[in-house]
Amino acid sequence: MLAGKNVMVTGASSGIGREIALVLSKQNANLFISGRNEERLKQVFEKLTCRDKSNYIVCDLTNEEEVKSKIKLLPTLDGVVFCAGVNEFVPFKFISKEKLENIFNVNYFSVILLLQKLLKNKLINKGASLVFISSISAQLGVPATAIYAASKAAINSTVKVLASELAPQKIRANAICPGIVKTPMIGNANIDVSQFLEQEKNYPLGLGMPVDIANAVVFHLSDESRWLTGNILMLDGGFTLQ
């Protein structure tokens, strides 16, 4: 479905981003995967099928100077999947400027500034598809997620503006908002893993797996979704039905 397409995936060294890279590779996309952890990123790269036409780029996307130099390693792209992100549960009373900056730097500012540079340097082909991994948190009111939810809501708003700005070049921009997906991020969060797993009963189709998100990304990147833009997809096993 994606043969010959050049696709960049950020945050590809673990979790949902890793699975996206592996699934896109099975669809014969040429992949340009980025992440901060070289060892883990290399391990993902070794599993890709089209390695001769793919590459891995170790990059801290929050470092603008590094991004400026690393994008020179990229070919022109037919798709970008923005998956790099962090989550920290912070009760409102404990919000600080530092925490706001940390989460927004990774989840919003770095995403926008990377895309801005890709566009300015004409690295996004006509007809390309931009896919932003957002979160259902952006539309919910889960306690202690004010910063995270706002960072994802900012992504969702930006997607709509981008979709209209880029439509003349037939470049599409869409967001996918997963519910709870079983990834290492769950274990790294500062709340008890069992609290996530207890949520399973609220998901009519159960908790998500990374491959569920990756499969949706395949559709968004393919020409089969050529008429889809500015869309915010709730991908949550029915959680928001209730």
């Binding site: 549960f89 912070v90 009760p91 009373k93 404990f94 306690p143 202690a144 500062n190 709340i191 008890d192 893993v193 609290q195």
Partner: protein, 78 residues
Amino acid sequence: MEIQQFIENFAAQFDETDASEFTISTRFKELQEWSSLIALSIIMMVNEEYDIGIGAKEIVGSDTIGDLYTIVATKTTL
């Protein structure tokens, strides 16, 4: 690290429970007001006040305020 101050900081994360309820031997997870949000607030308080990183594991592993104090005090002296 002062135990009394720790108990006061701990109690400050609650809005409904009377301050007299909090002692070294209080089994805090049995308090009616206890919630996952307060658990998170305790983690944040320890980080802010004592510059110590604890997570859900330390909360799960403590029954009394004294248990948690011991964990935090041990990390403080490391």
